[in-house]
Amino acid sequence: MTISKAIVATHRFGLGPRPGDLDFVKSDPQAWLLNQIGQKSSIAFLASAEVLNRQAQNRQARQNQDEELSQRLTRQLALAHISDAATRIRHSITTDTPFAERLVHFWSNHFAISADKAAVSGIGGSFEGEAIRPNIFARFEDLLMASTKHPGMLLYLDNAQSTGPNSRGGSRSGRGLNENLAREILELHTLGVNGGYSQEDVTNFAKVITGWSVATGPAAERFGEIEGSFAYLELAHEPGDHRVLGRNYRQSGIAQGEAVLKDLAAHPKTAEHIATKLARHFISDDPPPSAVAAISKSFLDSGGDLSTVYKTLLHLDEVWDEERLKYRAPNEWMVSILRAVAYIDNQSTGIRDNQLITSLATLGQPLWRPGSPAGWPDTADRWTSPDSLGKRIEWADTLAQKIGTNLPATEMLNTLYGTEVNPELVMAVSRAETNAQALVLVAMAPDALRR
């Protein structure tokens, strides 16, 4: 096998090679990727139950006007967020299964929650750790179910308080529906915006998932059916049959919502939507329809078995094209540079947790904070602004100044491309005034910005 296929495997499907990776991968790049399917990584994030618990204590402290305790708890949550986020970034930089990690990032972004909403600050790690990581090799239905039941999602898209107007709780309190989660499940998580649903479908689906809430608070504790940090509150559930996408759902309780989610997960529009997103992520901004169709078919034929879908993806001819069509998003780019310089291992000049986190924010992609339930856009026009390019140059320069002469730029070139380096880049590196300057050129070269 040629080195060029190893370059595609590590750059396009991984998070960029670490020193020695190309040599290791080149004997069978495709097998290296296929072997990562099924390799789940678990990361010790603060559990969502603990986050909810601390949030509840904090509310209590504020009610009791205990400023000091409230501030301490707020600070604890902020620190937990920093620790979780830094752990995630470090894991990306050091993992031996970078394709599996890319899939985690992909699904985390598909089911996006955003820490700019106060109710979910501190919960980003547990959402990824509890809903996404365990399910990326399962069926899409499992992933959808886990995401929808996670407190991160229920709080972020306001379902935790949504109440059926005719439920016991609703008729007593005057509370009612909130259609936010129902709409975004249809639009973003499953069918897609042109998936053929109506406003009535949104409203009815919102009724179906009334009572899907979180396991803290007096109502959940007294009346909830609790599964981990999820609670089903019959008290808030809109009674009766509900019609969604032409089908009548007669189930009672939580089974009604589960039935709708199962049907949505198996819907051809969902297959098409997911296939398009996967192809856009791994192939190009405008992926070939043939690739989308093949992935979509694999999704439908396998009953949404994601491992099967990834295998189909890796067997498409289109994905092995050597031309680099995708512009790396900031997280991918930063991680690929830090992997190439094996910087994290160098404790004498190591990066502190909050520097890692601040770096991503400066580069325009703060972790678990996309600012919208649609997640980060996956096309180049979002990341190629002049300012975005400028921030990368500044960041690369800051890193290069720290490294100084500790890592020759030629070594970084060798890590990234082996013998297949662009001659113009070799020339530019050889002409650089200092090693630090050469490192910036390597990090900012067209081949490093794309994969």
């Binding site: 700019d116 909130n178 936010n180 400066t362 300057q437 910036v440």
Partner: protein, 394 residues
């Protein structure tokens, strides 16, 4: 990639419609700043129809009741008032420098934020129907000009063949000039990177020559104000950009929206303070400025079950600045009776946002009716130009 000349040639019919703008220098001194509120701002909380008999009934705890309760300071007339946090807006209205539009919508009639924002920005007739944005196309039509996206990314409305600049403050150290020159060489065979680097260099040069406050980056509303404080210096320069965009998210108030105080009030305060800072920073250029505040759509008129509002249709829009013939409410009020509501739930649109934008682009930059109807907002022949929004150019 097309340059301006090729663009005009390529657009065929447009060539004959194209007439040279009025005295170019006059146009170059104009400033058009489009402020995008992402997430769907609740219009009736910003521009409050306090005298509508149905308003408080529909809104319950979300109603802004202080104007009806006798607070005169934020009343615009006998029917509308501004949210109490919009103090600078109120001042501008008194100074005849603000127009408020009560029920504005784009051509979009569904309820997805992302499709709604895309359509509002691409300027066509359907989401993703145009590859570039209407402000970029406007820049292509101007005899010379600059466009600046304030922020780390370039929004859809500014994307296209005209090379716009973008800028946001940085907390990182500034590299030596040499590295930019070397990257320029490295990018010589890469059109995309070469053009982005060119554009970056132009802004960078200016920033380096100014005494820019780089107090850096924080999140949300505070960042908005800090970013504006620095960016207004770029906009105030005589050779500064004519067209600029600002973005502010956080308007998707499905829960705990609040009224005089609370989540939405905090958002409005951030907007108000940011734009007040912008006016200060613009200095004399304020005289030639129109500042346009728009959102992708409005929110439901009934409060939802969780102290908030869901996705709706029409919302309020505002145009402020020294260039604006203000002190007016423009556009019909559709009413809030159940039968008045769009699909029984939303504020019914009475004004197409493109009418407002066409009026400003014609008034400030001399774009013709045909250019506006066919190039800037393709397929908008039926959407008239709202005349008389801006003062005569001097």
């Amino acid at each position: 990639m097309l340059n301006r000349r090729q663009f005009l040639k390529a657009s065929g019919a447009a060539l004959s419609l194209y007439h040279l703008p009025l005295g170019a220098e006059t146009h170059l001194q104009q400033r058009f700043i489009w402020v995008i509120l992402r997430g769907a701002m609740d219009g009736v909380s910003a521009l409050v129809p306090y005298a509508d008999a149905n308003y408080e009934k529909l809104r319950g705890n979300l109603a802004i009741t202080s104007p009806a309760g006798g607070n005169a300071s934020n009343k615009l007339d006998g029917f509308f008032a501004l949210h109490p946090e919009l103090t600078a807006f109120a001042d501008w209205y008194q100074q005849d420098q603000l127009i408020a539009f009560p029920a504005v919508a784009s051509a979009y009639r569904d309820r997805s934020h992302f499709d709604g924002q895309n359509l509002m920005e691409n300027g066509g007739t359907r989401p993703y129907g145009q590859k570039d944005g209407w402000l970029n196309r406007s820049l292509q039509l101007m005899s010379s000009g600059r466009g600046l996206a304030v922020g780390n990314s370039v929004p859809t409305v500014m994307q296209g063949d005209f090379e716009v600049e973008s800028w946001s403050p940085s907390i990182l150290a500034q590299p030596d000039d040499d590295i930019y020159a070397r990257l320029g060489d490295l990018y010589s065979g890469d059109d995309l990177l070469a053009s982005k680097l060119d554009s970056l260099m132009r802004t960078r040069e200016e920033v380096m020559s100014m005494d820019m406050e780089m107090s850096g980056r924080s999140n949300g509303l505070q960042a908005f104000s800090q970013m504006i404080n620095a960016a207004s210096k770029l906009l105030a320069a005589d050779n500064g950009p004519q067209i600029a965009t600002l973005e502010l998210g956080g308007w998707d108030t499905h829960s705990a929206q609040g009224a005089e105080t609370g989540r939405l009030a905090n958002q409005l305060r951030g907007l108000n303070n940011g734009l007040a800072t912008l006016k200060e920073g613009l200095g004399d250029k304020w005289t030639n400025t129109s500042l346009v505040v728009m959102t992708e759509f409005g929110r439901t008129m009934h409060a939802n079950g969780t102290g908030g509002t869901d996705h709706g249709t029409a919302s309020a829009a505002f145009v402020a600045g020294g260039a604006v013939k203000g002190g007016r409410i423009v556009g019909d009020w559709p009413g809030l009776a159940e039968s008045d509501l769009y699909e029984g739930r939303d504020l019914r649109p009475t004004l197409d946002n493109r009418s407002i934008l066409k009026g400003l682009l014609a008034g400030q930059f001399g774009l013709s009716e045909a250019q506006l109807a066919e190039i800037v907002f393709p397929g908008s022949g039926e959407v008239g130009i709202l005349e008389g929004l801006v003062n005569d150019l001097v």
